[in-house]
């Protein structure tokens, strides 16, 4: 048995050597949980954009402020029904072909037809005229540029599509081009030396999708991955004590929220929803599960959304007694087993959530235990997340726990509009209608006057805070571990970019 064993060891040593050579300080390996199995911007856009393979007409900085991307400037007509995007000239795709208005229009039209943000905008036409792209709307919509910064509106080269118009390659204009793609696990990148902007400092980079948080933590610790995104709470607290790496956590506009079916007799009264909210152990959850005590969500919009987060809202409290009294006001009385009943009906409900974000089932379990205190029997069903929109559509949903990202577009109005506009939304209000909010949202979407806009935003925030069609639980932190010698790492709270092009190795 000596022979095979030694063989293995040889492989091992060879491997170690190979590893060593692979670690020349001109490339990085980044690991993140998200697998990439498609070339389609509508499906894989989030990764393609983060890896700076393709770019949008409009770009955004870390504060969400819009800045020129492939478009140098944009203006709306007086009536706000037509937008002009002037394109950057001299930009070439990775395959050497020129970036033209036609290319942009084809890409955007496709994005518009596909499920994605553009579908949500009141667009009626996308056309090219010379060096500009013209988008016409049926009603004014100020957030359009922000929408064009979204991952599903990145611009692939015409050559990226096959004969039938299906995406078959990843060819963009970004500072990195794809050298190798092994779906769903990994993408290898090389610097695009023909990039129009400031060139990347690294020669190459590798993206590795590692689904398990444990694996990512170990990748970071062993140094196999130089930058690791989205660490789980346990892994994060461990890595803080590993001295070869730095860890950092950035608050992001993603919030764990509880969607309540206000159409359901149990929850039709705001008091019931407040009672639920009062019985949520936000601090406990933030301490024990997500482990960022300061991130207990005392209102829906996190501080990361500076325009929407408002300091003068009275923070949501946790108070079992008040919750109980509220429920008894609504005519609920505790049964023999401690579960509330009202005219023969047990207060027994089902919460839908999904395992893709490991913390969600845990939070659900915490709610289950806590709500038993106030006499609510909670069945937790951990399943595919499509059960939530499905339940919203057929009205079978009671409550749902999920993580909502209000930073999909630099301007959250898009998401808010979907979630709380007329009829609510799959990931927002259900069976809940509030005229004030609807009107305010219209203004926000269409007005150009900042003060008026801010006022309406305040109204919306206030109404949501009192009515609680969606109950916030905790805000998210974007957790990252970085090799100590890797410099220039910028963490984008909007998660639009991994900032590869700015990274460089200290020597």
């Amino acid at each position: 048995m000596i022979k095979p064993l030694s063989a293995v060891i040889c492989i091992a040593i060879a491997g170690a050597a190979l590893q060593a050579t692979a670690e020349t300080k001109s490339s990085v390996t980044i690991a993140s949980p998200w697998e990439v199995a498609s070339y389609d911007p509508a499906i894989a856009g989030f990764a393609i954009q983060k890896l700076q393979i393709m770019e949008n007409l409009v770009d955004a900085d870390v504060n969400g402020a819009l800045r020129p991307g492939l478009a140098t400037a944009w203006t709306a007509s007086k009536d706000g029904l037509s937008w002009q995007f002037t394109l950057r000239s001299g930009v070439k795709f990775h395959d050497g072909s020129d970036f033209t208005a036609e290319a942009a229009v084809t890409a955007l039209t496709r994005a518009w037809k596909q499920p994605g943000v553009l579908k949500k905008a009141p667009i009626i036409g996308i056309s090219a005229s010379g060096e500009t792209v013209v988008i016409t709307l049926e009603k004014p919509f100020t957030a359009l540029p922000a929408f064009l910064a979204h991952a599903t509106t990145i611009i692939p080269a015409p050559a990226a599509f096959d004969a039938d118009g299906n995406p078959a390659q990843m060819i963009g204009t970004g500072p990195f081009s794809v050298s190798n793609f092994t779906p769903p696990q990994s993408i290898s990148l090389v610097r695009n030396d023909a990039y129009w902007g400031e060139k990347a400092k690294l020669d190459s980079a590798t993206y590795l999708a590692a689904g398990r948080a444990e694996t990512r933590a170990l990748l970071a610790e062993s140094g196999d991955a130089d930058v690791v995104f989205t660490l789980d709470a346990a892994g994060y607290s461990h890595l803080q004590h590993v001295d070869t790496i730095e860890t950092s956590a950035v608050p992001i506009p993603r919030v764990v929220a509880l969607k309540v079916n206000a159409g359901h007799p149990f929850f039709s009264d705001a008091k019931a929803r407040q009672a639920l909210s009062l019985a949520i152990p936000r601090d406990g959850i933030a301490r024990a599960i997500t482990r960022f005590p300061e991130a207990a969500a005392d209102q829906l919009f996190p501080p990361a959304l500076n325009t929407w987060h408002s300091a003068d809202l009275e923070p949501l409290q946790t108070d079992i007694e008040v919750a109980k009294s509220l429920l008894s006001e609504l005519g609920w009385v505790a049964g023999p087993d401690g579960i509330l009943t009202r005219d023969g009906e047990r207060f027994s409900i089902t919460l839908r959530t999904f395992p893709d974000r490991p913390e969600l089932p845990l939070i659900a379990t915490a709610l289950q235990d806590q709500w038993r205190e106030i006499g609510i029997e909670l069945e937790v069903s951990v399943a595919n997340y499509s059960e939530i929109p499905a339940g919203h559509q057929d009205g079978s949903l009671h409550v749902a726990l999920y993580a909502r990202n209000y930073g999909l577009t630099p301007d959250p109005i898009g998401s808010v509009l979907q979630d709380f506009g007329t009829g609510g939304g799959d990931w927002g209000a259900m069976g809940w209608h509030n005229q004030k909010v609807v009107e305010a949202l219209d203004i926000i979407a269409s007005t150009v006057d900042p003060d008026q806009r801010q006022a309406s935003i305040a109204t919306v925030a206030k109404e949501l805070h009192q009515e609680l069609p969606v109950i916030p639980i905790v805000w998210y932190q974007h957790t990252v571990s970085i090799d100590k010698n890797l410099k220039g790492v910028i963490i984008d709270p909007l998660q639009r970019s991994y900032g590869l092009s700015d990274m460089y190795w200290a020597n």
Binding site: A213, A234, S237, L362, T365, A366, Q370, S381, V382
Partner: protein, 279 residues
């Protein structure tokens, strides 16, 4: 290497029963203990396995919590106990649901031989060729959150091993002169099975069963790993393994506990069936 001869039969020297018997006694004692634990469940210590305290999570063993607390501050002893209830009963169940059909079909195939044998064999091969995981996941998905579906799926993949073993051994046994003699003496099928097949095949089957029980629980763990079968706040050893995995670094003693329980179970089974003579 020692030269052990068996040129002449020395029955009284062939095996040393005393040691074996001791092992068996130990095995049965363990099984009995497990049974008590499973029947008693968390009531034995009067702790609620679902009661959390988010402010005292991942605690080391203490007087209040002899085995510490899990990631939601629940008492580990209570969870392991209620886990024992589910895991053991369902492991037992899956072994039965896999073992009985497997054995019976196996004996049938060997008994009749010919085309019946061939058909059953082909069928078993086809089933083996189906990715077992496919069946399990499907069944799990068909009735979400149902443990029984989970274990039914698992047994669906496990029965074939019993079948193969029984069929192969039964073929040999049934060909022995002793069976011919019994037939000639007019003994009926039941006596043939009882006197010839069961004593010959039984031990091997029990060993497979012991392995099967472990497989069942670890499969549940595996499914939990692809986040199937999680159903808060139920405690099940396999699922606990997956739940506690993220904390393997901070509190390794936690994930080791359900594993330890499973080890004890498997060990008990093996000892009680008398060593693991593997077919």
């Amino acid at each position: 290497m020692t030269d052990q001869s068996n040129m002449m039969a020395l029955p009284h020297l062939q095996h040393k029963p005393s040691k074996l018997r001791l092992a068996r006694v130990l095995g049965f004692a363990l099984l009995l203990w497990l049974a008590i634990v499973a029947v008693g469940g968390p009531d034995l210590i009067g702790q609620d396995p679902a009661k959390q305290s988010l402010l005292s999570t991942l605690e080391r063993p203490s007087l209040a919590h002899p085995l510490g607390t899990d990631h939601l501050g629940r008492d580990m002893v209570a969870r392991l106990l209620s886990g024992a209830q589910l895991s053991l009963s369902l492991a037992f169940l899956s072994v039965i649901t896999a073992g009985l059909p497997g054995t019976i079909i196996g004996i049938t195939a060997a008994w009749f031989g010919g085309w019946i044998d061939r058909i059953l064999g082909a069928f078993a091969d086809a089933v083996l060729a189906l990715p077992g995981l496919l069946l399990v996941l499907m069944l799990a998905a068909m009735s979400p959150g149902s443990w029984w579906a989970l274990y039914a799926g698992i047994s669906l993949t496990l029965w074939v091993e019993y079948f193969r073993y029984t069929r192969q051994r039964a073929r040999i046994v049934l060909a022995e002169p002793s069976v011919e003699a019994s037939r000639l003496l007019g003994l009926g099928p039941w006596l043939l099975v009882r006197r010839h097949l069961i004593p010959e095949i039984g031990p091997g089957l029990l060993t497979i069963a012991a392995f099967g029980a472990a497989t069942a629980v670890t499969s549940v763990a595996a499914l939990g790993f692809v986040s199937v079968g999680i159903r808060p706040p139920t405690a099940e050893w396999g699922v606990m393994m997956t739940e506690l995995l993220p904390y393997w670094r901070e509190a390794p003693f936690l994930i080791l506990q359900p594993v330890g329980c499973l080890v004890i179970t498997v060990l008990a089974l093996h000892l009680s069936v008398g060593g693991m003579r593997r077919p």
